[in-house]
């Protein structure tokens, strides 16, 4: 019934009589498998490991590109190569190995070069040194963690600030503005989506008549079928102007607009999981309450909702994971300015939008490229954890409903 991968995590629907499937598992396997069949069965097992393999590969290969940032072996300082200059006159006196390292050549290259070429290269070094920006910041390796996370007073600023500015003369890689942007857009999305989605889930699963329920649930889940790029388009072209006319704020694209559009994308996720959780509470719970004279609402609010609470938490957590990882909507509707403020009506730039907007322009293997992969690792870690939390909540719900706790 879900049109997305996410909502399905609440255990596949078990049809009536499904307990017998356990018997099927343990049943004697009929005739003994022939050797060929044994091979096929092993192959089935092997192929099933693909999902595990993929998670592992994602972690490995996104992490591999970002590794130099984590290991601290990346250096973005502009004057780094020139900190020790060997004058051209000293060439004869310098040991060959030292000279080779100084010029940054491989052994073969070094051996193939004649004296004159090496001399020219040394001259180039010195010229490059003279042309290096005359700025104290040019010496800084901006890929160190203290510059990535902490504020720094750059030349021309009157106080320490958090700045993400990868394509300026000094590459500034502070990720705090991006974190703030992502959290702001996500918070707005959840603020908008969670009450609506959970309200709708309560209504659809507990209060609506069975016949209404039959079409209401797929109708709400149809929202999941709207591609995120279409949602982004709608936010950019229609919603932004509409909301600006209503609320009258200054910048047309901001965290508020992005949050609303993001919320629209998150609603079906939260709704599906919360609705499944509420439906999985045995009917006898609410029937007992109704028999004691409560109204349907009282039964839903005081009996069913508390019983399904872990599942509802899971819905919110997974909605968070979806919102923070969403790319196209925020890329199109958030304005993409790295502003740190408390106002929802300022433009924001999120982690995901930064990767999408900047990766195409980077040099493969350069510090900007690696920094964007580092953001990817960060996103992967955050969504991994929120998925894990969601799974734990759902298991708790399952355990509770099966009376194991």
């Amino acid at each position: 019934m879900q049109s997305d991968g996410a909502p399905a995590r609440l255990m596949p629907k078990t049809p009536p009589g499904a307990r017998r499937s356990v018997g099927w598992m343990g049943l004697a396997r009929g005739h003994r498998a022939k050797p060929g069949e044994w091979l096929v069965e092993k192959a089935i097992l092997l192929v099933s490991f693909t999902a595990i393999l993929m998670i592992f590969l994602i972690f490995l290969f996104v992490g591999r590109e970002a590794w130099p940032i984590f290991a601290g072996t990346m250096n973005s300082s502009l004057a780094r190569e020139f900190q020790d200059i060997i004058p051209v006159e000293d060439m004869a006196r310098t040991p060959a190995e030292r000279l080779r390292q100084y010029l940054g050549l491989t052994r073969e290259q070094f051996a193939a070069m004649d004296h004159e070429t090496k001399r020219d290269l040394m001259q180039l070094r010195i010229e490059a040194r003279e042309q290096a920006p005359d700025d104290k910041d040019a010496l800084i390796n901006t890929t160190e963690w203290r510059y990535i996370l902490g504020p720094y007073q750059w030349t021309g600023y009157d106080k320490p600030e958090y700045i993400w500015q990868p394509v300026s003369q000094i590459h500034k890689y502070n990720i705090v503005p991006l974190l703030v942007g992502s959290l702001k857009a996500t918070a707005m999305a959840l603020l908008f989506a969670v009450p609506l989605a959970i309200g709708a889930a309560i209504y659809v699963s507990q209060l609506a008549s069975p016949r209404t329920r039959e079409w209401l649930k797929p109708a709400v889940e149809l929202l999941a079928g709207v591609p995120s790029v279409v949602m982004g388009f709608f936010a950019l072209i229609v919603l932004a102007s509409l909301l600006q006319a209503v609320f009258g704020y200054a910048s047309r694209l901001n965290a508020f607009v992005a949050g609303i559009a993001l919320g629209l994308a998150v609603i079906p996720v939260v709704f599906s999981i919360a609705e499944d959780a509420l439906t999985s509470v045995p009917r006898s719970f609410s029937e007992a309450a109704l028999a004691l004279g409560s109204t349907r609402w009282q039964a839903a609010w005081q009996i069913v909702l508390p019983a399904a609470l872990p599942g509802v938490f899971a819905a919110v957590v997974l909605g968070f994971g979806r919102a923070i990882g969403e790319t196209m909507i925020v890329l199109m509707a958030s304005g993409n300015a790295t502003i740190i403020s408390w106002s929802l009506f300022d433009s924001v730039r999120t982690l995901t939008a930064t990767i999408a907007a900047e990766l195409a322009e980077t040099v493969v293997g350069g510090h900007h490229y690696r920094m964007l992969f580092m953001l990817g690792v960060l996103l992967f870690a955050v969504t991994f954890l929120s998925n894990l939390a969601g799974d734990i909540f759902i298991h708790r719900l399952k355990a509770r409903l099966e009376g194991r706790r």
């Binding site: 399905a8 499937s21 018997g23 009929g30 709400v220 790029v229 929120s386």
Partner: protein
């Protein structure tokens, strides 16, 4: 499971017993549901209203080889073909793996075993990985690692990369990884819905387990597998983030001829039109037209999947 009669009795309780707070709160949740549906309707009606007029055969099938922002010349033919190509390729990669995993999980796996739990956790996690991370993965793994290696082995000394660059095949593979959980979950659900008695009957007649799975269970699950495939296609057709760096092209003069070519893409084109247009007012009809085509594609697919699933559920309920 409740019988319908009990539910109706419950409904009578509500009508017989009026309580203001309950009445108010029921209205509130109902309003929330209504608001969601209203917003969905707003999106769809707005797009249909502005977009339907722009749909002409020339626009749908015409090429974009001239000015792609010009209302009178633009066409989305190559984009539709590009999207179709990447989605069909993706299906070829994802369906066999997804269905096999689902077969293992329902027919062979032991419920509490470690292997089963790890596979399940991996599937759930894969479903939650942000789409942009899949894009990074496609770039880091398929293009750099696999494509780069292929180039080193097959085309050593060739200055232009052949495999180690954004290409149709890498975009499809990236999407296949992304939609794997969709296929697994849909197939699993349909396999679980097949009555156990059917399998037992087959085994009792002397079939082996594999024979039972392949000849009895799998044919029954075909509509479910179809649903999974359709859902995966509809999900993938609308995705832009994973193909940004793995194959989608801003503009191409010709259609992709081989697996290693880049391609123009419908969903990516929506992004291009809405953010890169020199005059958004002028290109608005093309933009809306493209969105309508994309939505028709994904929505029609989604609707078909929902209908198939509902029908399968109903027939299986009768069977079980």
């Amino acid at each position: 499971m409740s019988t319908p009669r009990l539910t109706q009795a419950g409904a009578r309780f509500r009508t017989g017993h009026f309580e203001p707070v309950s009445f108010f709160c029921t209205g509130l949740t109902g309003a929330a549901t209504l608001l969601i549906l209203a917003m969905l309707a707003l999106i769809l009606v707005n797009i249909a209203w502005h977009g339907a007029g722009g749909l002409s055969p020339r626009f749908m099938f015409g090429s974009a080889d001239r000015d792609m922002f010009d209302v009178n010349k633009a066409g989305v033919g190559p984009m539709i073909l590009g999207t179709a190509a990447r989605v069909i390729l993706m299906t070829i990669f994802v369906i066999p793996v997804g269905v096999t995993t689902a077969i293992y999980l329902t027919e062979y796996a032991q419920a509490g075993a470690l292997t089963t739990r790890v596979i399940r956790a991996a599937v759930n996690n894969l479903a939650g990985v942000p789409s942009i991370v899949f894009g990074l993965f496609g770039l880091g793994f398929f293009i750099s690692a696999i494509g780069g290696t292929l180039d080193n082995l097959l085309y050593a000394g060739n200055p232009q990369p052949v495999w180690g660059k954004p290409a149709l095949i890498w975009a499809s593979m990236t999407l296949a990884v992304m939609t794997l959980p969709v296929v697994i979950v849909a197939t699993e659900e349909s396999l679980r819905a097949i009555p156990v008695g059917l399998r037992e009957a087959s085994l009792a007649l002397g079939a082996t387990k594999l024979q039972t799975v392949l000849r009895i269970v799998l044919p029954q699950a075909l509509p479910g597998i179809l649903t999974g495939g359709i859902l995966a296609v509809s999900r993938a057709a609308g995705e832009v983030a994973p193909i940004l760096f793995t194959g989608a092209a801003y503009y191409m003069a010709s259609l992709p001829r081989s697996l290693t070519d880049q391609f123009m893409d419908l969903a990516y084109h929506v992004f291009v039109l809405s953010t890169q247009s020199p005059d958004i007012e002028k290109s608005r009809p093309i933009l809306y037209g493209t969105v309508v085509v994309l939505l028709l594609l994904t929505f029609a697919l989604n609707l078909v999947a929902i209908l198939i699933r509902a029908r399968v559920r109903r027939s299986l309920r009768q069977l079980g």
